[in-house]
């Protein structure tokens, strides 16, 4: 008993020591803030985007959406038990995929456009072939012991999932088996994003931490703290050198990967709603953050100022996405509609 307590105490001391070392190392390179550096950058001015399309079709709350790599098709998931694939240029629905479980929380489009994946409270990531005559279930990835919060395809043969069981996982779609399990979070994983070079990914979790992972080795390379509540959303800055997080603590943060720390925060005393989703414009200058206050607020990523708002939804904005060509932004809401803006 005493020996165990002694070992625990020693380990705790070692942890505290290492944490202090990390903080000291971060402090040592902290020679100035982003907002100070960005003082000389030209302001973007008021960003006023127009509502271009209001996509009606779902019959219940929309929980997730994802753009196809072609910047034209988009898939949305609703707890009405359906995935809808849209042609955003015309507003037409191309395909409806009925789900075995209506409690969907995540959806993803494969870069090829051939497959979509969804999952939720069923703990399963189901992959569908949408190029078949009618959508066909290709694989059911069943190993998580908690809800599926997010998924992203690397290709038609590999997908990464994030789960309420606190792990993320890389799956082989040919075999349907787990290739790598990423364990280190101590809270439900809520969101993930792939790095532009696809060698790593980031995850945000209910332990208020964001983690950077090496996809092939499975190791957690860096951990970012600062949020005081669940991180619900996470995205890469387009250069791949920084990440943006959105949290229930009503703020967003940008962490630079090479400086290994937060470089700017995005919060406003008038904003008392949790952040549900984040997406960046192609240059990285604008951050579109969906909030529980029914709006999507637009932030200047460099200056940390609010520069616009997308209003129109009648309920929480649950998902946001910018297509690869950066032409617009899509917001999805619990009000069952998706809106396209630019």
């Amino acid at each position: 008993m005493a020996a165990e307590k002694a070992e625990m105490d020693a380990l705790k001391k070692e942890c505290d020591g290492l944490r202090a070392q990390i903080e000291a190392a971060r402090k040592a390179v902290n020679d100035g803030s982003m907002s100070a550096s960005a003082g000389g950058v030209e302001a973007v001015g008021r960003v006023q985007l127009k509502l271009r399309k209001n996509l009606k079709g779902h019959l219940a709350k929309i929980y997730a959406m994802h753009w196809s790599a072609d910047s034209r098709q988009m898939v949305s998931a609703s707890q009405d038990g359906k995935l809808l694939i849209w042609d955003t240029f015309t507003g037409n629905k191309l395909t409806a995929v009925p789900l075995k479980s209506a409690w969907v929380m995540s959806v993803a489009f494969a870069p090829s456009g051939n497959l979509v994946a969804s999952g939720g409270l069923d703990n399963i990531c189901t992959v569908y072939n949408i190029k078949a005559a009618s959508p066909k279930t290709l694989r059911e990835l069943d190993a998580h012991t908690g809800y599926l919060s997010c998924s992203r395809f690397l290709s038609d043969s590999e997908i990464i999932t994030a789960s309420g069981d606190t792990t993320c996982c890389l799956w082989d779609l040919e075999t349907g088996k787990q290739k790598v399990v990423f364990t280190n979070h101590i809270g439900d994983c809520m969101s993930l994003a792939l790095s532009p070079d696809e060698n790593s990914f980031i995850s945000g979790a209910c332990d208020s931490l964001a983690k950077l992972w090496d996809i092939r080795s499975g190791t957690c390379k860096q951990t970012f703290s600062g949020h005081t509540s669940d991180i619900n959303a996470i995205a890469f800055f387009p250069s791949g050198n920084a990440i943006i997080t959105g949290s229930d603590d009503c703020s967003c943060k940008m962490y630079d990967l090479r400086a290994d720390q937060e470089v700017i925060g995005y919060q406003d005393t008038s904003l008392n709603a949790g952040v549900t989703s984040v997406a960046l414009s192609n240059s990285g200058r604008l951050i579109f953050a969906g909030y529980d206050d029914f709006n999507c607020h637009i932030w200047d990523s460099l200056k940390g100022e609010k520069v616009g708002v997308l209003s129109g939804h009648d309920n929480r904005v649950s998902c946001t996405g910018v297509p690869a060509d950066g032409m617009g932004v899509c917001t999805g809401s619990w009000d069952s509609f998706l809106k396209l803006w630019n």
């Binding site: 165990e4 070992e7 625990m8 380990l11 705790k12 070692e14 942890c15 290492l18 944490r19 070392q21 990390i22 971060r26 040592a28 390179v29 902290n30 020679d31 100035g32 803030s33 982003m34 550096s37 960005a38 950058v41 973007v44 960003v47 271009r52 399309k53 034209r72 955003t88 240029f89 190791t219 957690c220 390379k221 860096q222 951990t223 800055f237 387009p238 250069s239 050198n241 920084a242 630079d256 090479r258 400086a259 290994d260 720390q261 470089v263 414009s281 192609n282 240059s283 990285g284 200058r285 604008l286 990523s301 460099l302 910018v322 060509d325 950066g326 032409m327 617009g328 932004v329 630019n342």
Partner: protein, 70 residues
């Protein structure tokens, strides 16, 4: 008893993870910030949400159909 063993195992894993994270090279924040700013500046003209494209090139605009009632 096994609960304590589990806690010790967790603590050991935490120490190992922290050891991995402590030894990375860190860039000065000012340089990192400058890089991010430079990226935004270089790509601003190619960002349709920062530098709007003409209406004719906007794939999401409502296409006006001209009808005449004869």
């Amino acid at each position: 008893m096994s609960n304590n063993m589990a806690k010790i195992a967790d603590a050991r894993k935490t120490v190992e993870q922290l050891k991995l994270e402590v030894n990375i090279e860190r860039m000065m924040v000012s340089k990192a910030a400058a890089d991010l700013m430079a990226y935004c500046e270089t790509h601003a003209k190619d960002d349709p949400l920062v530098t709007p494209v003409p209406s004719s090139e906007n794939p999401f605009r409502e296409k006006k159909l001209f009808c005449e009632i004869l």
